[in-house]
Amino acid sequence: MVNLRDEELQRIAQQLGRDPSVVELHAFDAAWSEHCSYKSSRRFLKTLPTSGSRVLLGPGEDAGILHLGTHDGERYAVVVAHESHNHPSQVVPFEGAATGIGGIVRDVLCMGAEVVAVADPLRFGRCDDLASHQSHVARAVVDGIGAYGNAIGVPNVAGDVYFEHGFDENCLVNVVALGIVNEKDVIHSYAPKGAEGWQIVLVGKATDPSGFGGASFSSLTLDARDAELNKGAVQVPDPFFKNVLMRASYRVFALQRERRLAAAFKDLGAGGIVGCSAEMTGHGGYGAQIDLSGVNVALEGMPPEIIAVGETQERMMWIAPPEFVPDLLRIYNEEFGLPEVAYNACATVIGEVTAQQRYVLQYRERIVMDVESEFLTGAINDELPYTEKIYHGATAQELPAVDIEGIFPRVLAHRDVCSREPLYRRYDSVVRGRTVLPRGAGDAGILAPVPGSRLGVALAVAGNPRYGRIDPAYAAEQAVLEAMRRVVAVGAHPIGLTDCLNFGNPRKAEQYGEFVAAVEALARAATELDLPFVSGNVSLYNEAATGRAIPASAIVACIGSIADIATVITPGFKAAGSALLWVGSRELVGGGSVLAELLGVKGTLPHIEYDAERAALTIVRDAIARGVMRSCRVVADGGMLTAVARLAFDALRAGRKLGAEIDFGNPLCEAGGFVCEIAGDSGMDVTGTLQIGTTIDAPELVVNGTRFDVERLYETWSRPLAQLYP
């Protein structure tokens, strides 16, 4: 099945001066898919800020790179990539989600980095009926992510999950991976200067027919009726093999460093061998001559188009100088014995880099593809019409007075607020022994990525679909703000962002308009906060056959640096008698809040004022720098009181029976900010903050005179998701 449009087919025939071969058809189908070409998103993505003093590599290769810090005179950087695996996960949830982790890990690995963490922002349909398909997807996706990440030994330290009817037919499985690299050892994904005559080495599993047409399939609207047909487009994960492939690649990196040789390395993702090799050579200004007969295959007699563009997992590609190739082959094939680990797996030379910019494939002594590299991999654009100013309007509606005693437990038990532990317990959050804050312990995960060093890196994700349903632009701005706040709340300094833009059908002006508005909003927020986007991904066509698109979902990850992990804010109230401050907007409007949903009202959206946001960040960072911040949580889903309760829960889990006394109008509004536990004698200037209460020496929350037992609230909050994830 080829999804090229008529005009695209005509363009290809015109350029080639002949009808394209079958292999060429499939190659263009992949290369010109939305998934690979960003043809309808590129012109907007260009507006995102992508540079800054910390940026070593912005968007363009498989991952972005940010300077982290210096240890022992060596400069270290974090490598970050962010992707979606939505369509595959909807069709075959376990495998789809697992290969999402597999792919994102390769994107980081191929920059020469050691992969140190993953995160998984997830959006599922409503799972009230545990026997529903939505519940099956929600469970199988989590099991797939766990099965893959746990086996390769990369800790899952951050993520979030929402359950909305808007995702009933289109789940979102976004994945983020972080790596650590010495800055002088970064490997790029295109052939460097002087690479003419270098060899193209395919490494990994034997190519099989799985994942054929994957890129193209990801760029379609899903129709449940085609579910069986689409399954073949999903790849098959093999984390066990990946474990070995990663470790073998680390060994190659070490040898390459020792011998001071340049080389290029890239993940085989969308478009398979052609997609990868054409980009690696084309972006370096070269061509390639590849013989598909040299590819190690799992089945004899596969047609050349499947070998050329099939998306079999667990494969990578090196472009290396001939003097390095024997060592490279030895490490993969002998030292790590790939052929013994999986059937017909190996590293093998399949072609070479050529000076003339033609991409030529041959198969059994026949030329099956011969095109200009630039024509295949160059930018293409689809200028589609879109509707401006998408706003599904919350009305200016006052929130009614609330009965806090009755409603607060319901907020804590709400599907968007309750404990995520039953879910993330299935993920290994501590493998490799570098975890400082594991999943759930704080608002962001933290690792000490360089053994023996005090450097830390924080990672958090955000993207609230309750906002996305109302206002795509607002949701995007809040996603940037919340991800950044989360990183700040654990004591890190935000240094960069990534985004995954999950939207509907770009060929429908209204759905496309949501995407356009969200990108503008991301650019505005990032510019105001002076944070660059260094990597990202776009997933369009998240639309069901009914024509319903998902809630606008710009999902943002924020990366933070920590100079000394001793300064990390550890979880939970530390002592009685601390001042509790609410730093940030305290606008008492409920638009998009869990409270508004429970009350059945709309409310208005809280305003975003960047001056106030910057001031709030300064206050929090200042309190941390001065050592008076005892604990901190962001105000997000469930509002300020939920943040206070979380701090009490964190303390309870650490064996400290502490609580708080709070006096504040409506403590369940969700205008973003921080709740901070500040040492009572801090002498801190709290201008611009509001003291909302104090911590007390009893496991109780006393809210405007109403008393709650922390242990009972903890039960209420802990249990709901255990139904879905026993």
Binding site: F240, N243, G337, V430, R432, G433, V436, D564, I565, Y725
Partner: protein, 254 residues
């Protein structure tokens, strides 16, 4: 000459990095031995089998690895009295190899760490191990205090001790139950068991006391920066917590 410790790496091992690092930080002379170097394994003085998913945990976790040629050397070493310490997947392999509890014969296990219950899922949870034997009963625990409590992370899908009632009685009667799950104060109750393990078992030792197998990972809660309850002023890079068990292991070699 200090004793040399091998950390064998099977295809699928994933915890070799922190295991090696902690052994070294505790003063051990340790190195990784890759499966392609299996023939060099015999020359080491002690062995630490790290966590992971050797051979994809096919059949049952550890079942295939127990038959790997690297295990020929480890079994021979264990029978000659050398120290062998297995963690998580390493523990599963030692059970499948029949080295612990050692009440059967080699590669004919009488007990296994198998699928968690009641929920048969992977569980990642902070736990405490309580020493349930006289410390001197096992060379690897000899330097621990009586009733020692060791913080660790359970991170496994197959950590439930399963055996016939008769073999469970042998485990108890023979003093093989080295560690049980407990809370932070050392209290033993069912709520502390993350996986439905029989006898609340977190670790087993062989008859001779030179082979120890534990399911949770003390090496992931072993530096101050790993502890959520660390105190202000603690050197974040110093070893502590779960490292006591590694120190005891290294001490037994000197």
């Amino acid at each position: 000459m200090s004793a040399r410790i091998a950390v064998p790496v099977f295809p699928g091992t994933n915890s070799e990095d922190e295991t090696l690092r902690l052994l070294r930080d505790c003063g051990g002379d340790a190195e990784l031995v890759h499966w392609s170097q299996a023939s060099s394994l015999a020359q080491y003085d002690a062995y630490v089998l790290a966590g992971g998913f050797a051979y994809e945990d096919r059949i049952r976790a550890g079942a295939i690895a127990a038959h790997d040629r690297m295990m020929d050397s480890v079994i021979e070493a264990a029978e000659s009295g050398k120290l062998v310490f297995g963690i998580c997947n390493g523990a599963q392999i030692l059970l499948e190899a029949g080295l612990v509890p050692g009440t059967g014969s080699i590669r004919r296990p009488t007990a296994a760490f198998t699928r968690n219950a009641p929920a048969p899922h992977f569980v990642c949870k902070h736990v405490y191990l309580k020493l349930a034997i006289d410390p001197a009963r096992c060379a690897i625990t000899a330097a621990l205090p009586e009733d020692a409590i060791v913080p660790a992370w359970a991170a496994h899908a197959e950590g439930r001790l399963a055996a016939t009632p008769e073999h469970l009685r042998e485990i108890v009667a023979g003093g093989h139950l080295a560690f049980v799950y407990a809370d932070s104060t050392g209290a033993v109750d069912d709520g502390a068991i993350p996986n439905g393990s029989a006898l609340g078992c977190a670790g087993l030792v062989n008859r001779a006391g030179n082979v120890l197998a534990i399911m949770p990972h003390p090496e992931r809660d072993a530096w101050n920066f790993n502890h959520l309850d660390r105190r202000e002023g603690d050197d974040v890079l110093a070893t502590s917590g779960g490292s006591v068990l590694f120190r005891s292991f290294v001490q037994a070699l000197s």
